[in-house]
Symmetry: C2
Subunit: 334 residues, 2 copies
């Protein structure tokens, strides 16, 4: 029997998340039953959407409760297997949660290429990349010459949406929370423009950055940025509702944006919510395309890395505070 | 030269519309130029959406200004024509505005069957019927067994949406502003259920009327009713954004509904705004279908009628106060 270092939800947060809402716990490893495998976790990713899962009330992820291991997707190596699907040494991805030696049902894991960096598997080839891919293409339908705007543009999904929009021939505008992030988007990632939503003259800058209005708005934030985008949509424009990070880290979400439904009617705009899980049958197609872009250097993945499981709560707080870029990855000590 | 009795916009209303926001004026008739016809107006219809056109700020109908003839669609008979398209005695429909003897460009008029009652031409065969038809079918896509909910359900568009939903095999639930309207919907028009949004326990009643949640919500109101519907949408549901009558008769529209975009994401809901004018190429198809339903008694059109042009301002106030049902028609004195 070994030790399984875990981080539990200590307190379901009422206001902004704090690192001490989580508590460390050391459990004995659980020997796998039939159909289960014991893993050694190599890395976990944290997404802003997980904050919605801590609301206490229901989100698509279900309600949170204290005293359970914090959930999350990770990459691990199989230590012991009681499933014919996996052998010791295999690298897998799935719901490891925040723990060093989890026991997981084999049917919740997928085999991944053991030669790839877990950060790639958790970022562009994981849920973040798939979310960007299906949301942009299947909900947003960008065409050459269209203007694509994405919020939380330096975030785990946003930075890939922008690059995929560029690959689709669109003009790409990012909305992000600092001048440094805007510089990163336009400099390193090839966005056509980026606007800092914390600037006093955000609305004027946003308008100037979208002179031909917006054909596709990929919304990761909801709130005021969604409100601003609504006023800039082109006739027939599409709003891809992916997330609402502006509403997650609070127990008192704001009212909805003004102009709904009036602006949707006047400009014949479509708003459509989606969950990436509905596209599961096409993950292989998307991963093949994303792998190809990565190999050819056409998609540049951003990652913010932390070392050690104990860094995960702080990483989550950083993420919600907008202090990270790209995919947030916590690598576990070997 | 004859007299053209007109009603002008006297004051662009700041709060709720009042009948004395309009002023009567008698102009000489304007002799038609090339391509124009002089009409005798038989009837005009008033729609709640016209209130949005009086906001001063832009809507899809453009901004209003005082001193001009109040706009609106009417049916008239040609008195004098300088267009090869029409001869004296022809019956036509188009933008007559609130005036007894307008001069109108022939290319803005369509020929209509002179044997039909103007109330049918302005209601089910006019913009109201076309709006219900395209919005329900082309945006809402109701299927057999679906639950279709419509707000302002006793209104000019709503009462037809519900009946067309029933013809498509859906279960139909109306939301209206009085018990009498609800009785009318379930009794005369065959709705499966109707809920009075002014009832104290509206949310409970609404929930009870939609036990299988909502597949198609046809929204004529925006505001609180849209907010309630958002919480009852089925996974994959469609919200048809047709109008926002709750927001028209005020200069201080409320905030948008809570739960946008979160509820759209969780339930993968699509909200789509539309304007009937985008479907102009298919008006003939729709009118043929609607005519067939009318002949077979499958579509029962409701009308609230007023006599005399001078009744139009009061009719408009009644309409916005929810005191009318179906299509509001003002018949002019011969």
């Amino acid at each position: 029997m070994g030790e399984n270092h875990q981080l539990l939800i200590g307190t379901v947060p009422q206001g902004a998340l704090r690192a001490d809402d989580f508590v460390a716990y050391v459990a004995p490893t659980a020997p796998p039953d039939d159909g289960e495998v014991l893993l050694e976790t190599l890395a976990v990713t944290i997404g802003a959407g997980q904050r919605a899962g801590l609301q206490g009330s229901a989100s698509y992820a279900g309600a949170a409760s204290s005293g359970v291991v914090m959930g999350g997707t990770g990459v691990g190596r199989v230590v012991e297997s009681r499933s014919p699907a996996f052998a010791p040494g295999d690298m897998v991805m799935g719901p490891t949660g925040w723990q060093s030696r989890p026991t997981v049902a084999a049917d919740q894991l997928i085999a991944v290429d053991g030669d790839l960096d877990p950060a790639l598997l958790l970022g562009p080839l994981g849920i973040n990349g798939l979310t960007a891919y299906f949301g942009l293409h299947d909900i947003g339908h960008p065409g050459p010459g269209d203007t694509v705007v994405v919020s939380a543009a330096a975030g785990s999904v946003g930075h890939m949406v922008g690059q995929m929009g560029r690959l689709a021939g669109a003009k790409v505008v990012g909305v992000a929370g600092s001048e440094a992030k805007c510089d990163l988007l336009c400099g390193r990632l090839g966005f056509d423009a980026a606007v800092n939503y914390r600037a006093d003259d955000f609305r004027d800058r946003f308008k100037a950055a979208t002179p031909e209005r917006i054909d596709v708005y990929f919304d990761n934030t909801g709130g005021d940025i969604l409100g601003s985008a609504l006023f800039r949509m082109a006739v027939g424009g599409r709003i891809v509702c992916c997330g609402a990070v502006s509403q997650y880290d609070t127990s008192t979400p704001g009212p909805g944006p003004r102009g709904i439904p009036g602006l949707l009617v006047n400009n014949r705009v479509t708003m459509q919510g989606f969950l990436v899980f509905d596209f599961e049958e096409r993950y292989a197609e998307a991963r093949a395309q994303i792998s190809s872009w990565l190999r050819q250097g056409e998609l540049d993945p951003l990652t913010t890395e932390y070392e050690g499981l104990e860094a995960a709560p702080g990483a989550f707080v950083d993420l919600l505070a907008g202090a990270t870029v790209g995919t947030t990855v916590v690598r576990l000590d070997p």
